[in-house]
Structures are given as structure tokens and as C-alpha cells.
Amino acid sequence: MVEKEAVIVPEAGLHARPAAQFVKEAKSYRSDIVVIKDSAEANAKSSLRLMTLGAKHGDRVVIRAEGEDQEAAADALVALLSQEEED
């Protein structure tokens, strides 16, 4: 299991479009992945759950991945949250 921290860079936070992208990326890994904000956890492969986290621009979240490709999954998702959305 790995845990990595990220600060959300996209202005829109983890809302509709960014969330959809994030979920798409998460689904491309076999590992179980959760996003943790404060004490709340959400399945990274469910945009509905993710949106209920209400994670906003500037919030600190932890990505926890467990499975065969856990390192790559956590790295990719942290990278995704750390980059600006294309305008």
C-alpha cells in the first residue's frame, strides 16, 4: 500500500470535468484507490463519491493505492491533481 499527498491545483477542484478525467485515469489502474480528504474517504473510480468530498482548489488530499500497480497509480493521480487544467 502506498499513500501520497497532493495539493489540488485545478481551479475547479474535483468538480465535474476534472473529476471525470481523474476517474478515467484511476480506472486505468488495477489497484484499489481511495482519495482521502480530512477524515472522509472516496473511491477514486467513482465520480459520484469523489464529488461528495467537495475537494476544492488548494485543498490537501491523500491518494492511497493498493495493488500491483500502486506506485504508478498514486504517482499518476498526484500528477493529475498537481497540474492546471487546460483552458
Binding site: 470535468r17 471525470a20 476517474v23 473511491n43 459520484l48 461528495t52 467537495g54 492546471e84 487546460e86
Partner: protein
């Protein structure tokens, strides 16, 4: 006082309409079975999965159809709905309840309500609106499970003004073309789906009228003013004729703009003003042309470089530039070389963390230092040049020293291509005037370029020392400030002496109050977002 009911709400979609009222009452879903027997679990789960699949298929088809009609953002709504239907947590939630012997139709509605409740409770207008999305999807799956045919809006045969508590995207999508004259909606805001759909289809809409809607439910005729944000139930004849006049004016205005789409804009004293589009990807070329763009005044190339782990190849860039060059043919396309700084990640380039990315290592500064970034782009532009009329423009230039360095690299690229025997074409070179330094000393730069294009967004930000994103500095975010106008004037003056032309490619080119000032100062090309083009042409023609 006239004897009618006036409903005040939010002006959600421009235009006026008068027509027979149709009250849309959403059908109450009444599942026949609350529970199931233990031996039916697998069978019911199968039915649930089939229903999800059917709904997803239907949503995807609608999305595709809308995309085909050019309604990109509406297509996105239906795609998002398909995603909700396929959401693993949503499905697990339903499956758990079915295993607990709940009927799938009841389970779907309950799980939908659970999520909707969570969204509705969030203190964010956007998220609260997502509650309706989940409910809409859950309702569709439940309807499918109950084998029900949807009724109501899709059978509408008389053009009507539709009154409803709210309309889900699946509702609006079912209305046959031309049957919705207007919308009067109790709930919602400008960002609700119904508002977005209404704007996209050009249907007048007033939303958020609240409980007042009840007073209008018995009305036979309703008048909607989506520009002012009100509706009138059972209007008297004076009101009707007043609305009909407004309707005629609005239609005339739209027709007039349509007429201007494809004219060449010329001022009364005969000065030709080229009205072009700003685009941010190769796909936008066709849309820009359909709005009457006479060229591309600013082709931002950043899209090629973002969201990836390596730099785009020369070949990939060549394809994108060639596509736009071919689409525009004889019409000029100005490609701006990449302008990225520390505020955005560039793959394959080691960018230092900077305190002030907008005053940092970006644009031409970075390109001059990183030839492996700059050269493939220039080579790709040169190679695409034979397929149209391409121009290149360098961003963030401060003085002629930078310009010469950039031109030297461009020359190297040309030499290389020549040596390789590759096909390439000639391109005009220009500078994007967006630093006060370039504007103040425009006379140093002008003799060495074919054109200037003033990027007013950054020129304003740098001249007035006001961050573009800072809401408290609203007053300092317009080019309509004497300091900025002076710099634009100087730039035009230097250009005149050198015999080159000046364009404007910032927001202010499409600000209708600014157009006459820019032209007065000597600007002869205006580049803006495509939908603003017809109106800009009209304004120019009236000067």
C-alpha cells in the same frame, strides 16, 4: 393595473416568445414491488444491469446526436449522465440493496436519492445542481426497469411555452425540434441544465420564478421575456402586441447579424477592417469559419503541449498547423509560438518554481533558451506553410534583441529544411505586443517585422500592474484606460512609420465599446472569440 399575473425570475436565455402554455408534470414513479424473493436475486441483478446498459446506450446516442448538431457542451451533459449510470459506487449501492431483497426499481431510486441528498447539502450552487443529475439518471433506470414508456414532452405537437417545476436534461432532449417556444421554470439558475440547453438552442427562458409558478398553472397563454427575466400569464392584448413587437425586433436583429457574418467589414470612410477569430485548437477552425472569421488572429498552440508527459513531435504539430492552414485556405492564420511559464507544467522542460510566473521565464524567453522546444515548432510551421497562408508571432517580446534571436533560429530551421530537401513555405513574422516595453519602443521593433498584434489582456495587466485574476481590481482590467490606450496609440504610430499593420487579439477586440477606439488609433485587424464576429462586423460597418 392590467389584469394578468407577472412572474419575475432569472433571465436565463435571451429572446421573447408568446404561446399556448403547457404545464409539464413529471410522472410520479410508483414501483409496484417493494421487495423480491431470495431466489430471484441473481435474476433481478441481471435485469438491473440490462436496464443500466439500455439507459447508457440511449444517453450515448443522444450525446452523439447533439455533438453532430454542434452542441458540444450539451453532449457533455449526457455523457456525464452515462457516467453516473455506470458509476461503480452507484451500482454497488443498488446491488447491495437488491441482495437485501429490495426490488431494483426501489433500490435505484433510494440510492439516487442518497447521492442527491449529499450533493444538495453541499454549499455550492454547482454541486447542488448535480443532485438533479443523479435523480434524473436514477429515474431513467427505474423507468426502464418498470418497462414504462416515457410520456409527455416527446409527443408535444403544438409549439408551446413550457411551464415546469424543473426540467431534467432528459426532458429537454425529448422535446421535438421547434415545439418549445420558451421555458418558465420554478427552480434553477443561469447555470442549471435547462438554462444551458435553452441558450444553446436559442429558446427564451426565465428560471427561478419560485412559487409564483403556481399562479400561472391555469394560464392558457404565456409570454416569456428571457432577456429581461420575466413571464406573464394570460397577457392582455396590449401586452401580447408589445411582446410580438419585441419578438419581431429580436428576430430582425438575429437576421441582421446573420447578414453580417459573411460581409467584409469596412468603415464609412472605406477603411477595411479584418475581423478574425482567436482559436485554441485545430478543431475550432471550422466553427470559426462558420461565424464568418476572415482569418485567425491568434492561434494559441499551448493545447499541443499540455496534459502529456513528453513534448509533442514536430510531425504532430505539423499535422495540427496544416489542418488549420488548409481549413482557412487563402485567409491568413497567425500562429503564436508557445507561451507557457511557471504557472503551467511543460513536459520535458525543467521549469524552476517561480514567485511570479507572469514576470518569469516564459514565452519567447523560454523558447530562446530551449531550442528543443522552439525548433520543432518553427519547423512544423514552415512545413505547414505551403498549405495555406501562415504567419508566425512571438509572445512576450520585450525588445528587438529577442526578436532578432528568434528570427535567427527561424532562419536556421529554414536552412535545415532546405538542406534536408523538405517541403516548406514562406511565413510572415510578427510580434505580439503585450509588454509595455515593446509598446513604448515599438519603433525599434517595427522595421524588423511584418505586423504587430496587440495582446491587450497582458498589456493591461502589465501596464496597470493589476493581476488579471484579481476580482478586487475590476476597474483595472480593461484596455479602456488612458495609459493602455496611449501604448496602443504608440504601437500604431510606430507601425505606420514602418509601413506595417496592427491587429488586436485580446478580449478588448470583441468589446463592442472598444472597437471604435481601437480603429481610431489605427488598428486594422480585430481578433476575438468566434461568436462575437458578426456583431463586431456590424459595429465596424456603422462607424
Amino acid at each position: 393595473m392590467a389584469d394578468y399575473v407577472k412572474l419575475e425570475g432569472v433571465a436565463a436565455s435571451e429572446g421573447v416568445a408568446v404561446g399556448p402554455a403547457l404545464v409539464h408534470v413529471p410522472r410520479e414513479l410508483k414501483p409496484e414491488r417493494e421487495s423480491i424473493f431470495g431466489d430471484a436475486i441473481e435474476n433481478e441483478l441481471e435485469r438491473f444491469r440490462d436496464a443500466v446498459e439500455a439507459v447508457v446506450r440511449e444517453l450515448s446516442e443522444t450525446a452523439e446526436r447533439l455533438r453532430g448538431d454542434g452542441s458540444e457542451s450539451e453532449a457533455g451533459i449526457f455523457e456525464a449522465h452515462a457516467e453516473i449510470a455506470e458509476d461503480p459506487e452507484f451500482q454497488t449501492g443498488v446491488e447491495e440493496r437488491v441482495r437485501g431483497l429490495e426490488s431494483p426499481e426501489v433500490a435505484v431510486i433510494s440510492v439516487g436519492e442518497d447521492f442527491a441528498g449529499m450533493f444538495a447539502a453541499m454549499e455550492d450552487e454547482y454541486m447542488a445542481a448535480r443532485a438533479d443529475d443523479v435523480r434524473d439518471v436514477a429515474t431513467q433506470i427505474a423507468t426502464e426497469l418498470m418497462g414504462g414508456k416515457k410520456i409527455g414532452l416527446e409527443t408535444l405537437a403544438e409549439p408551446s411555452v413550457i411551464l415546469a417545476l424543473n426540467l431534467a436534461p432528459s426532458d429537454t432532449a425529448r422535446i421535438p425540434k421547434g415545439m418549445a417556444l420558451g421555458f418558465v421554470i420554478s427552480e434553477g439558475s443561469r447555470t442549471s441544465h435547462v438554462s444551458i440547453m435553452a441558450r444553446s438552442f436559442g429558446i427564451p427562458a426565465v428560471v427561478g420564478v419560485g412559487a409564483a409558478l403556481e399562479d400561472a398553472l391555469g394560464a392558457e397563454v404565456v409570454a416569456v421575456d428571457g432577456t429581461e427575466g420575466y413571464a406573464i400569464a394570460d397577457p392582455d392584448s396590449d401586452t401580447i402586441s408589445h411582446f410580438e413587437e419585441k419578438e419581431r425586433n429580436a428576430v430582425a436583429e438575429a437576421a441582421l447579424l446573420e447578414e453580417y457574418k459573411h460581409v467584409e467589414a469596412r468603415t464609412a470612410d472605406g477603411r477595411r477592417i479584418e475581423v478574425s477569430a482567436n482559436i485554441g485548437s485545430a478543431e475550432e477552425a471550422e466553427v470559426a469559419l462558420s461565424w464568418g472569421a476572415e482569418g485567425v488572429g491568434l492561434f494559441r498552440t499551448e493545447f499541443l503541449f499540455m496534459k502529456r508527459t513528453n513534448l509533442p513531435s514536430e510531425e504532430e504539430q505539423y499535422e495540427a498547423y496544416r489542418k488549420v492552414a488548409e481549413a482557412f485556405g487563402e485567409k491568413p492564420v497567425i500562429i503564436r509560438t508557445i507561451d507557457v511559464g511557471g504557472d503551467k507544467d511543460l513536459p520535458g522542460v525543467d521549469q524552476p518554481q517561480e514567485e511570479n510566473p507572469f514576470l518569469g521565464w516564459r514565452g519567447i524567453r523560454m523558447c530562446l533558451d530551449v531550442p528543443e522546444l522552439f525548433k520543432p515548432q518553427l519547423r512544423a510551421i514552415l512545413r505547414a506553410a505551403p498549405y495555406g497562408k501562415l504567419r508566425v508571432m512571438f509572445p512576450m517580446v520585450v525588445d528587438a534583441v529577442e526578436l532578432r534571436a528568434a528570427k535567427k533560429i527561424l532562419e536556421e530551421c529554414r536552412e535545415e529544411l532546405k538542406k534536408e530537401g523538405a517541403e516548406y513555405g514562406e511565413i510572415e513574422v510578427g510580434v505580439m505586443v503585450e509588454t509595455p516595453a515593446a509598446a513604448v519602443r515599438a519603433q525599434d521593433i517595427a522595421p524588423e517585422v511584418s505586423f504587430f498584434s496587440i495582446g491587450t489582456n497582458d498589456l493591461v495587466q502589465y501596464t496597470l500592474a493589476a493581476d488579471r485574476g484579481n476580482e478586487r481590481l475590476m476597474r483595472l482590467q480593461s484596455a479602456d484606460h488612458p495609459a493602455v490606450l496611449d501604448l496602443i496609440g504608440r504601437t500604431c504610430e510606430a507601425a505606420r512609420e514602418a509601413g506595417i499593420w496592427v491587429g488586436v487579439c485580446g478580449e478588448s477586440a470583441g468589446e463592442f465599446g472598444m472597437i471604435h477606439k481601437l480603429i481610431g488609433l489605427g488598428v486594422t485587424e480585430l481578433s476575438m472569440s468566434a461568436p462575437s464576429i458578426p456583431r463586431a462586423k456590424k459595429i465596424v460597418s456603422e462607424l
